[in-house]
Amino acid sequence: MAADPLDEYIDAVSRALALPVEDAWRPAVRANLEVSMRLARLVDEFVLPDEAEPASVFAA
C-alpha cells in the first residue's frame, strides 16, 4: 500500500526543520495539520488581484 502523502509530508518537514514528532504525537499533529490546511485552502481559493499587498507591509 502506498504511503499517505500527508504522513510523508510530516516526515519530510519534521526532518527539514529538525522538529521531533514522536509516534505517540503523530495522530494529533496530523489532525491539527489537516484542520490548518483545510482552513488555509479556504483562504487560498479566494481570488485576489496580483497587486494585493499583505497586511504586514514594512515601513522603513
Binding site: 518537514v13 519534521s14 526543520l17 529538525a18 522538529l19 499533529v29 490546511m37 483562504v43 497586511a55
Partner: protein, 487 residues
Amino acid sequence: MWTSLSCLTKPSRPVSLQPEIIPPGSREPLAASEIAQAVKDGRLSALAVTEATLARIAKRDGVLNSFTDVTADRARTRARAIDAAIAAGKNPGALAGVPLAVKNLFDVQGLPTRAGSRINRDAAPAARDAALIERLEAAGAVLVGALNMGEYAYDFTGENIHDGPSRNPHDPSRMTGGSSGGSGSAVGGALVPLALGSDTNGSIRVPSSFCGVFGLKPTYGRLSRARTFPFVFSLDHLGPLARNVGDLALAYDAMQGADADDAACTARPAEPVFASLTQATGDLRIAVAGGYFQKNVFPEAVEAVARVAKALGATRTVEIPEAARARAAAYVITTCEGASLHLERLRRRPNDFDPAVRDRLIAGAMIPAPMVDRAQKFRRWYRQQVLELFKSVDVILAPATPCVAPKLGQATFVLDGVELPVRAHIGIHTQPISFIGLPVVAVPVALDPLPIGVQIIVPPWRENVALRVAYALERMGTAFAPQPMGI
C-alpha cells in the same frame, strides 16, 4: 441544553460615574472608581484596600485558582507609598489604591514571566514591569499578583495543565474561557476590580463572556505590549477587564500613549474616553451582524444579542463579508506565527509543553509559506471591505461566544443535532474581528443561570464609541456584571 433564559435581577444600585461608597459590611465589591475616590478623600487608606484584597484572595482563590502569584509584600509597600503621598498633599492619580492583577504573560519585576507555561518559569526574573503595569501604577494602581492563563495564550478554555484550570465564578465546575482565564475569574469573582489580559483571537472577550464581566480589546496598536510575552505579533492586543464600564475607561485612559518599545504601538496621541461616557447614543447607527454571526450559536447567544439590540433600538442587520474566511486566515496566521515563536522550544523541550498546545504548534510549523502570505493579503482585502461597511454603520453587535461557559474538560457540544468540538468553536465570533484589529467592548448579559457576552464592535480608533454604548447598556440595566454565585 439551555431552555430557560430568564434575567437575573438588575444591579441593586444605579450605575454612576460618581457612585457612592458601599456601606461597611456590604458584600458588594467596591468599584475601582469608588476605591480611588475614597482613597483620595481619605475615607479609605490604600493599605486597608490592599489588605482587604489580599484577604479576599486568600479566602476565595482556593476555589477560583485565578492567581499564580500573589505579590503581597510589593502591594503593601506600594499602598503605603500612596498613603504617604496623599498625606503629603500629592495627587495619587485616577486609580489611587485600586488593586490590579495581570495575566502572567506580563513582566512583573522579580518574577519569571511564565506565560502559562512550564518552560518559561525557568527563565530569569523580569528586570522591569510591563509598560502597562508601569502606567497603571503611575496612576495609583496597586499590583497584587499575576493570573492564571492558557499555555502560551494558545487557548480559549482557561484550562492549564501545569497550574490547573482557572474556575468560573458563577459555577466552578465550568470554564472561565481563555486564554485570559485568571483575569476573567479574578474580576468575575470580585477578587480585584481590575485586571489586564491579552487578546490575539478573543482571549479578553471570551473570558469576559463566560465570567460575566466587561472587557475592552482596543484597536491593534493602541496599547503598548512592551515587556509582555508575545504569541502572534501581528494579532496580539492587550486590554483591561472590569466590573463596570467606568472602570474600563479609567484604566484605558491611564494606559494610552506611544511607546517606542513596541513596534506596533501607535504614535497617535492619547484620546481619553472617560469624560465622554455619558454622551447620548441616539445618533449612532447600530446594527446586528448577520450571516456568519448568526450561525453555530446556542439560544443564549441569540437571546443576549437580541436584548442588547432591543435596548439600543437596533433593528438593522448587516453582513460582514467573508467572515468565515477571515476566521480561517486568522487561524492560519496564528498557528504559523506561534510555531515560529516557539520553534526552538519545540525542538529542545517538546515534552514540557501541554501536549495539546505542542501538537498544534508543530502542525503550524508545517503550513507552507505561501498560505501564510495569502492569509496576510486576504487580511488587507477584508479590512478594506469592513471599513467600507463602517461608512454606513457606526456600531456592529455580535455574540462574544456561541454559548455560555462549558463544563471544565468538556470536549464537544451538540448544536442542532451536530456534535462540534468545543475548543475550536469558542472563538468563532471573536476571531474575524481581532483579525483586523477592530476595537471591541464585550458586555455581559446576565442570563440565568450563567452570563454571556455581546461584542460592541466599532471602527479603528473609536473605542470612545464602543465604551459609550456599553455605558448606555449598563445604565439601562441590560449589561452588568452579576455577583459571583459559585464561590
